[in-house]
């Protein structure tokens, strides 16, 4: 078996560097959008009228119950017939944001629910409004608890972003595929592709751990 050709590998780096930046851009847009959508969905469920709770259920059920690739096809190939043509990046970022938003919403819901009911009762008994309970009692604790789960979900978003290659957004996976098609070398591009994803995922996990440690309530006690 041939060893990995270092010359080939080094030659791939510039293309992969550019592609990694595109993957990062997609990831950043999707996670930022997804967090915003997820937070608003949870806010509406917590504080809105009962109708919002039902809409929340429909949104999370539909978007978590259908494969991401199917959503992506509908948005990229289907929306143009409704008069909305998006670029591959726009379509991928939008779909990934709405898709991950459903998961982020569920993370927020779980973290909101995890706050002991007694704390909420104490706040209500002390005269705090529902909004104040949400903002002052639930938010600070639930968001802290959500940090590791958000990091985990961001890693899943990173890996789903590979599917943007199917609609020709030239991120990491598409770049690797193109190189393979042209150069007929398989090992180096795909190994490098795997390494890139793994490094990005490891970076996200580490950032999540650091942020969780930084924001822990116990840590603040010792300060």
């Amino acid at each position: 078996m041939n060893a990995i050709d270092m010359g080939v590998l080094l030659g791939l780096l510039p293309d992969f560097g550019t592609a990694a930046l595109r993957t990062l851009a997609l990831l950043a847009a999707a996670v930022a959008g997804g967090l915003l959508i997820g937070f608003i969905a949870n806010l509406a469920r917590e504080l809105g009228p009962p109708l919002f709770a039902r809409l929340y259920w429909v949104y999370t059920a539909v978007w978590r119950g259908v494969p991401f690739l199917v959503h992506l096809f509908i948005v990229y190939f289907g929306l143009p017939s409704a008069g909305l043509a998006l670029s591959p990046f726009q379509a991928a970022a939008l779909t990934l944001a709405v898709y991950s938003g459903a998961y982020f919403a569920e993370i927020f819901r779980a973290c909101w629910r995890a706050i002991p009911a007694g704390q909420i009762e104490a706040a209500r008994a002390a005269g705090l409004s529902r909004r104040q309970v949400f903002a002052v009692i639930q938010c600070p604790q639930a968001l802290r608890a959500a940090v590791p789960l958000i990091a985990n979900q961001a890693i899943l978003v990173l890996k789903e972003s590979a599917l943007a290659s199917v609609i020709t957004y030239p991120e990491l996976t598409m770049t690797a595929g193109r190189i393979v098609a042209v150069q007929f070398t398989y090992v180096e591009p795909y190994l490098l592709l795997a390494l890139c994803y793994w490094l990005l995922a490891a970076a996200i996990a580490r950032a999540g751990r650091l942020l969780a440690r930084r924001t822990a309530i116990d840590a603040m006690v010792k300060k």
């Binding site: 104490a122 002390a126 705090l128």
Partner: protein, 275 residues
């Protein structure tokens, strides 16, 4: 109407069901200003539910609860039926009532001071400087001023409960509801909390308390109410309920406590043996 003539809390025909299970029925009870009233009874008798109905943490479904004469939680519709009242009005009516919880229910992400200040700055919209002054005074009242900057996680159970009491006191309530305030505490931490409650009763604070600390209840209460199976069975002075119970159920309920007390040092020496 004369202010002192209206009971602090007035309960009439109170009933409550969870699902098909009736946990309270036909409760009539008045809490007078300055009175310390204690609810005792076996587990599941409805003591805590009565207490929770008194500030509408539990919505009752029969009868009515009035705070200083104002109906709590509902308003009368044109046909005389009870309609749910808005969140804002409920908060207004329950304002004179503060609650101390069995599990303290402090907010762990805030300091002791933050816990006591939050109801003032948020519910009462008080400027922070004034709120801090009142909160520090309340913490001093329970002997916790030197721990103001600590978070609940670094305090003992007894200290947490004292902060819980300070949080309830800071807003100058007219009546304090205490739901088994010492039940979650290690035995050696009970006294520090009981001392605080005793000093409040000496200062004339109106209190309604659920407790299993019989000696303590007998010592601080003006009136003790015995409940069983969602009903009010007997009530009277500590002497007539705890030391000379006439009611058979009350006597049976207190029996284990009497035995323990006699085994220790003959504390309730005046107890009447069953004839």
């Amino acid at each position: 109407m004369n202010d002192t003539a209206v009971p602090m809390i007035s309960v009439r025909g109170l009933g409550k069901s969870f699902g098909g299970h009736r946990v309270l029925q036909g409760i009539d009870l008045d809490v007078r200003r300055g009175e310390v009233l204690t609810l005792i009874g076996p587990s599941g008798s409805g003591k805590t539910t009565v207490l929770r109905c008194m500030n509408f943490l539990e919505a009752y479904d029969e009868g009515e609860v009035r705070i200083r004469g104002a109906l709590l939680g509902y308003r009368r519709g044109p046909d005389g039926r009870l309609l749910p009242e808005s969140e804002r009005i409920v908060a207004e009516v329950r304002e004179p009532v503060a609650m101390v919880f069995q599990q303290f229910n402090l907010w762990p992400h805030m300091t002791a001071l933050g816990n006591v200040m939050a109801p003032l700055t948020l519910a009462k919209r008080m400027p922070p400087e004034r709120a801090q002054k009142l909160a520090m005074a309340a913490l001093a009242r329970v002997g916790m001023a030197d721990r103001a900057g600590q978070r609940p996680g670094s305090l003992s159970g007894g200290q947490q409960q004292r902060v819980g009491i300070a949080r309830a006191l800071a807003a100058s309530p007219e009546v304090l509801l205490l739901d088994e305030p010492t039940s979650a505490l290690d035995p050696e931490l009970v006294d520090e909390v009981l001392e605080v409650i005793k000093s409040l009763s000496r200062d004339g604070m109106t209190m309604v308390m659920v407790t299993h600390e019989m000696s303590f209840a007998a010592e601080v209460s003006d009136r003790i109410v015995f409940m069983e199976r969602g009903r009010l069975v007997a009530q009277g002075t500590p002497d007539s309920i705890v030391y000379r119970p006439q009611n058979e159920r009350v006597r049976a309920f207190l029996q284990p406590w009497v035995r323990r007390s006699l085994a220790g040092r003959a504390e309730p020496a005046s107890i009447n043996p069953a004839p």
